[in-house]
């Protein structure tokens, strides 16, 4: 992994980010059936920093809000509360200003579904060229073609693939086209939302290797979202564990995997089926992720936590520094 770049300030800073969705029934239904408004707190106060050239991974199960955090970071959603700083600049006001394009050139995203992330009616050349023309980076047609060809080559595809359509490629190849598109504007920060979850294992290996190579060559900073802890362990420098919209533990990779402190992190790590430990006996934890519309009071993990106390039921633990990591747990701090 690339050595952490000790800068005066980190590239990406998220502070108390929150996003609430109104998922109430339509107004008429609410009035007639006297239903209350329903709010979904998808992200409920998340803070982290990412130094330049490093990878922060966010892991969690369904409903934890990691995909929403990803979309907040690229400006697809506006936060209900909290702020995002990119290279010292307030990102969300930049996204709304007339200079939004300058910010958008530097931040890009790679999506989970290789089949839905490329427009099926556009050629590969058009797909990759779009960010370039949109930002006015290249106006000459011949130069555009050369640039698209070199982008394709950098992800292991060829210039001959330019006139083809997405359906002519496999899932892994499509994901590589997505990466080429994301790199077109030479961004500094890439948000990757489960980029390999839909891919076969051997294809996943190819894509992860390419991503690591590109990071090393270009000094990219990644936010890597995944539910697969083994993949996360391979690609990340630091890992944040999310549960029901909140960060419960944030630590560097080695510390988190060697010595997980939060009961949820421990449970997650224990739940992963291990390949080389065949026949191992485990005690799986009971319970399921609660309905995000109706989260438990206090610490949202308390119904499933073997160490829950009355304090856990009533008071929400803040994310605090503790022995080099950050953790939100009454039992630990």
């Amino acid at each position: 992994m690339s050595a952490p770049d000790f800068q005066a300030k980190p590239l990406v800073v998220a502070h108390d980010l929150a996003k609430t969705f109104d998922v109430s029934a339509p107004w008429l239904n609410r009035v007639l059936e006297r239903k209350p408004r329903q709010l979904l707190h998808a992200v409920d106060g998340v803070s982290f920093e990412i130094p330049k050239g490093q990878t922060l991974a966010l892991v969690g199960e369904s409903g934890c809000g990691k995909s929403t955090v990803a979309r907040l970071l690229v400006g697809l959603y506006e936060p209900t509360r909290g702020g995002l700083t990119f290279d010292g600049q307030d990102a969300h006001s930049a996204f709304k200003s007339p200079d939004a394009k300058a910010m958008r050139q530097r931040i890009q995203m790679i999506f989970q579904d290789p089949y839905a992330s490329l427009n099926p009616r556009w050629t590969v050349e058009a797909i990759i060229a779009e960010p370039l023309t949109e930002h006015g980076l290249i106006s000459d047609a011949a130069e555009l073609k050369t640039r698209v060809a070199s982008l394709l080559q950098s992800v292991g595809l060829s210039a001959l693939d330019m006139p083809k359509y997405p359906h002519q490629f496999s899932g892994g190849q499509r994901q590589r086209i997505s990466i080429a598109r994301a790199l077109a504007t030479a961004p500094e920060f890439l948000v990757c939302d489960e980029p390999t979850s839909a891919l076969d294992v051997s294809v996943q290996a190819q894509v992860l290797n390419i991503m690591k190579d590109l990071q090393r060559e270009r000094g990219l900073t990644y936010l890597f979202i995944s539910h697969n802890l083994a993949v996360v362990r391979h690609v990340s420098d630091r890992v944040g564990v999310m549960y029901l919209g909140r960060l419960v533990e944030l630590a560097d990779k080695h510390t988190l995997f060697a010595n997980p402190r939060h009961p949820y992190t421990r449970m997650l790590l224990d739940a992963i089926p291990k390949m080389h430990d065949t026949g191992r006996a485990r005690t799986p934890v009971q319970g399921e992720v609660p309905n995000p519309l109706n989260p438990p009071s206090g610490c949202s993990f308390h119904p499933r936590c073997p160490q829950a106390t009355d304090l856990c039921k009533s008071e929400r633990p803040p994310l605090r520094h503790f022995k080099g990591i950050q953790i939100a747990c009454h039992g630990v701090v």
Binding site: V201, S202, H227, A230, V289
Partner: protein, 322 residues
Amino acid sequence: MSLLQVKNLVVEFPNRHGTLRALDDISFDIAPGEILGVVGESGAGKSLTGASIIGLLEPPGRVASGQIVLEGQRIDQLNADQMRHIRGRKIGAIFQDPLTSLNPLYTIGRQLTETILAHLPVTPQEARRRAIDLLKDTGISAAEERIDHYPHQFSGGMRQRVVIALALAAEPRLIVADEPTTALDVSIQAQIISLLKKVCKDRGAAVMLITHDMGVIAETCDRVAVMYAGRIAEIGPVHQVINHPSHPYTAGLMASIPDMDSDRERLNQIDGAMPRLNAIPSGCAFNPRCPQVFERCRQERPELGSAGGTRAACWLHQGVAS
């Protein structure tokens, strides 16, 4: 005697360009009470194998040749009515998506008792009692009340437990489970895997577990078959296949999985991709991508033969290169 024997099974899909061979001469056995894993990447044919055994192959797909023998009886050539009696009574099925596996319009009690009554000679009251016991066994609390609930009143993990109960309802000898945990969260996966192991061992039912997740295979199965391009590349005890694979594909696959215990800079990658069904190379299907390929691999197709602690279809382990 084996519970299930698949001998030289060939499944084809005729279409306007010709005939595609989706499964090409597959043979394996499952012993009573054993858990066999079938693992492979997309397009390898593992789901098709399961579908052929249950008799749910979608037309125009059909069994072109070969035999499927269950408890000494051939089941690949039965008509729809006869197959219906086998399904449920002798073979149970668990599919990937618990949402669509249950009928949303009926209570789970009704679905369970319907299956039990269709296959076992019991009274409706007895069927209901058995259903409640099944629900308790699969870890659903307050079974006496929840038996009258509808599927939408259960969460994803709970629904998959109900599906397992449904598969076991008529006391089958073999369960075919196609990606039973893929759609579930990691923590629920662990619960469902251990549940499946426990109830099957308790009832002496054999399981054919189809998945792409090697971790699940490692924790659950006794033996595993690795499939590639419609053929079995390697089959053997799970510890052997994972830690001492004989076939280069298996070795490459194991090495490309990021794993919790080791720290590697690069994952091993197998260059290229699995060939499409209409472009399978001659000889060994893996030969264009194999790091240890030699001339015979391109000419002749290898059959499964013993290789170290497993059986592998690879010329490296069989005879002398001619």
